[in-house]
């Protein structure tokens, strides 16, 4: 299953990629990483990933708008929002736009793995 990682922090992008080295995540393969929504849309069109991790606060285009555009391009994609914004309204907004999961930063490896398991099982 192809995954695109979208986050303006390189540390977070690398962290998510490293968590996916866990044997339980062997069915997921990172096909691209983007630091903002604009680059993410390009990579999304190019690689057609089934899974996306999405930050919210990013330059150029934020994660809510990016989620909306990706879902318009492929309504079947599974978008997991990974954000520090821990208010309910932000999570709700992303879910309304088509995201299928939400995990708050800072996250543990196990929390991220569980979120991927839930997402891929659904």
């Amino acid at each position: 299953m192809k995954l695109l990682i979208v986050d303006d922090s390189m540390i977070i992008r690398n962290r998510i990629a490293r968590v996916l080295e866990d044997p339980r995540m062997s069915h997921i393969r990172v096909v691209g990483m983007a630091p903002n929504g604009v680059d993410a849309i390009e990579l999304f069109k190019m690689h057609k990933p089934k899974l996306v991790t999405m930050d919210i606060t990013m330059p150029e285009m934020d994660g809510v708008e990016c989620t909306e555009q990706m879902v318009r391009l492929n309504p079947d994609c599974n978008i997991l929002v990974v954000s520090a914004l821990s208010d309910k309204a932000t999570a709700l907004k992303a879910l309304i736009k088509g995201a299928r999961g939400f995990i708050y930063k800072p996250f543990s490896d196990e929390q991220l793995i569980n979120a991927f398991v839930e997402l891929t099982n659904s």
Partner: protein
């Protein structure tokens, strides 16, 4: 004095405390006070990240830490690259995470910018923040860092 309440400030203290515990499973020691009260100064360390608020709030939230502490945090996060670029990325991400987590209390009307980062020299924070700022001094392992909350309600 700031027009933010003690409850508002508490949300930042909780976010700082929660951040270090989640990252390292160790509680950080926290000492906090309004700058104007003179108990704590707005201590500047080697690297600073900050976010700017808009919406129902204005101002900034800063996270400042010494290189050695940020390097240790990167190590815990499993990041192999400890270049200046990564260290700056880390302080920006920490400022963003602390402010973002505090939004649980403030709600979506506290809008948060993307982080800005810089290598900073001593007294830099003192020169840019207002006297009504709230200073949260963090001691994690043997390292000290500071979070300065310089915000005001606009509505």
């Amino acid at each position: 004095m700031s027009n933010v309440t003690e409850k508002d400030i508490r949300s930042f203290v909780d976010a700082v405390s929660g951040y270090f515990y989640q990252i390292s499973e160790e509680q950080a020691e926290i000492n906090a006070a309004f700058l104007v009260e003179g108990e704590i100064s707005a201590t500047t360390f080697d690297l600073t990240g900050y976010i700017t608020l808009s919406g129902n709030f204005s101002g900034r939230v800063y996270f400042s830490a010494p290189r050695v502490m940020v390097t240790r945090l990167l190590l815990i996060m499993g990041e192999a690259d400890r270049s200046e670029e990564r260290l700056l990325d880390a302080v920006g991400e920490i400022a963003n995470t602390i402010a973002g987590n505090a939004r649980k209390h403030f709600g979506e009307n506290m809008e948060i910018s993307v982080p800005v980062t810089a290598a900073t020299e001593h007294d830099w924070l003192q020169s840019v923040v207002s006297p009504r700022s709230y200073v949260i001094l963090v001691k994690w392992k043997q390292y000290k860092a500071s979070v300065v909350v310089d915000i005001q309600r606009t509505r």
